[in-house]
Symmetry: C2
Subunit: 404 residues, 2 copies
């Protein structure tokens, strides 16, 4: 018998391992204040009524809700996805071009399967979603970072990156971007940049995968229209029930350009056949028969309060040399310590001090020491957020002092 | 802008397209007798009680059942998977080595991700599961068929295939096999062959992926112990709730050798984060609080009746030159027409005659004309099965006549 490790694929052997990945487990320790996990707040859901619906889906419709469904997703769920996308700012999505997936991570992964060859480049904003980086990693893609500022991706930097890739003869599979209240930066890409980015990608013949889980969690109640709203044929648009309803039902989707739909759908089917029928039917009911927009307004208000409490706390307790992007929506506050600080080390010190955040190293394809960190405010009550910031203050402030 | 088709990956462009894939949609036509789909029969489930449970999981435990869960799966679900595996014939599975996936298709796909490099060989029995072939196809693997008879994979043929691969310097990622009541052949691999296959794979240093969705659907009530029961370190064992409870909840799992668990789990997480929390909790409740084994006995009895009705019907109405493997469990009856018959053509003729089956071409990596077909009896009442066989009789019998 050969050694067991010989069984592993190159990509599995190459999956990036680091202290970062374990932070999500560590964050479950009830003695810690967790500023790590991006969980949505669910207590405001009408659980009694939803329970009644979930029960009836089994007792009265069990032979359907517990059975196999179509690979593309149930038609009513695809309609419900279009209703949600209308709220995102895409009023005219066609349910025929929607593919339902078990969460939007699976949709990101399906995009890799359908559009990327091993060794291709995926251009990302830096920082970007850790789950997307892991998926790119396992598809043996080369994530190349394009520069950002507090408003997200900088068009000129994207253009330069794509030009460089062209000069190097690299195939760019797609641009992966989260324009609205990005994970982890919280940045909101302005409208003019959205059009500019679409124009640049069209010029270079590059597909856009636009991930928009947080778009409706806009603190002013006015989501910016996604890039896909005006540029449908060059964008694979990803939506999800995870932040506006429930991540536990694992229902996400992709709105795909017509010319690419069949392959996207077959790629998805080859990975998981289809998303949970019961989860699709419960999500559909939430959209069709509950005040889902009222729920979004309510949780957005709650997240806004928490974001403000967190903002005030870091401004009061942390060294002013730490810079932040002020969130106008979403779940996250992104901080940058002065260069030279190592937030991976700080994470360990922070855990000893009783609070945990995610260090910036998790969110970038760039190797080396990182002085950035992500604080999540979605799932933690305001007082606890303040407590966490206070616990971290000596750790952070000493690290800043050491850089002087 | 480049042409949209340029956006597609090589693997997406290469996904095998054929009339076969559309048969599953065609089979939904209520005017047809469908002998195509492998759906389980769900009407015997205690839907009222299960509905109550599903409802309570949301109304009383919604902040948990609708929330994110751990990537490896919930601990009670991993325990429940071990309980089911004990029924399969693996009494001592360790929940720490179980990874919960959104159905076992996702587990097959995760095995490709974790163990196979592009261009690797996967050895399969021929015929084999269409979903596995599609997954191998999208991972750019080369499915190589090893010979079978009515008892499944022939050990000497496996040995010869693995020796040939060695001689050609090919890396074999794993053997993919369904030893019990295989999809599509229905064949049951005898006990001595199970050990022999494990020995041959060990000799060649080849991992086994053992897929066992049907093992407990044994018409005599006595499942044969899986290969994994005695050969844990060389087998990734796949189980599922789909055939013994519900495919709509999309809950499957892998029992993984300890040395490979971390990479398998990370590979799974990169694809879909985790399986539906609500689906896991409902599946756990089904195993822990319902008479799941009674349900398995009941549906197995039903499937046995249907299998017999179907057997009698083909023996009565079809030309005796069509050979069958008599099913001792599972969902399927596999038939072989004389060489020269093309069941892909027959499928179209059959649909005109009012019944649909899946032609053998779907289940083999071997190109060319195939004279085999799969009849599914799990979801169709006995009289309808007979009706379907009668409708197909002239089509089948004329095709046989043409070969003479």
């Amino acid at each position: 018998m050969s050694q067991s490790r010989d069984f592993l694929s190159q990509r599995a052997l190459g999956v990036k391992q680091s202290a970062v990945r374990d932070v999500f487990d560590i964050a479950m320790d009830p003695n810690l204040v967790s500023l790590a996990g991006g969980n949505p707040w669910l207590s405001g859901l009408p659980l009694d009524e939803l329970g009644k619906t979930a029960g009836e889906l089994v007792s009265q419709h069990g032979t359907e809700s517990l059975q196999y469904g179509p690979g593309q997703g149930l038609e009513p769920m695809r309609q419900a996805a279009c209703t949600v996308m209308a709220g995102d700012g895409i009023p005219d999505a066609d349910p025929e071009l929607v593919v339902i997936t078990p969460g939007s991570q699976a949709a990101i992964d399906t995009a890799c399967r359908a559009f990327a060859n091993p060794g291709d480049v995926v251009v990302v904003e830096d920082p970007t979603f850790v789950g997307a980086l892991t998926s790119f990693n396992t598809w043996e893609l080369d994530a190349v970072a394009a520069g950002t500022d507090e408003h997200g991706l900088i068009p000129a930097e994207l253009d330069a990156t794509l030009e460089l890739m062209e000069a190097e003869g690299r195939r760019v599979a797609f641009l992966y971007t989260i324009p609205s209240f990005a994970n982890p930066s919280g940045a909101l890409l302005p409208e003019d940049r959205r059009d500019e980015i679409a124009r640049i990608c069209a010029k270079h013949g590059v597909l856009i995968v636009e991930d928009n889980p947080y778009g409706q969690i806009a603190f002013d109640g006015r989501p910016l229209a996604p890039i896909a709203a005006k540029h449908r044929d060059q964008v694979v648009y990803l939506g999800t029930m995870s932040k506006i309803f429930s991540p536990g039902v694992r229902i996400g989707w992709a709105l795909v350009p017509a010319a690419l739909k069949r392959e996207f759908y077959l790629s998805a089917e080859s990975a998981f056949i289809h998303a949970s029928t019961h989860g699709q039917m419960l999500s559909t009911a939430f959209v069709d028969h509950f005040d889902w927009q009222g729920h979004v307004r309510e949780v957005s208000g709650l997240y806004k309060e928490r974001a403000e409490a967190l903002w005030d706390a870091v401004k009061e307790h942390w060294d002013p040399a730490v810079e932040f992007i002020r969130p106008q929506g979403g779940f996250f506050l992104w901080g940058s310590l002065p260069e030279g600080a190592d937030t991976l080390e700080l994470m360990t010190e922070g855990i000893k001090a009783g609070a945990v955040f995610v260090p910036g190293a998790a969110f970038t394809p760039v190797e080396g020491t990182h002085s950035t960190l992500r604080l999540a405010f979605s799932f933690v009550e305001a007082e606890k957020l303040v407590e966490g910031v206070k616990r971290l203050a000596p750790v952070v402030n000493e690290a800043v002092a050491r850089t002087r």
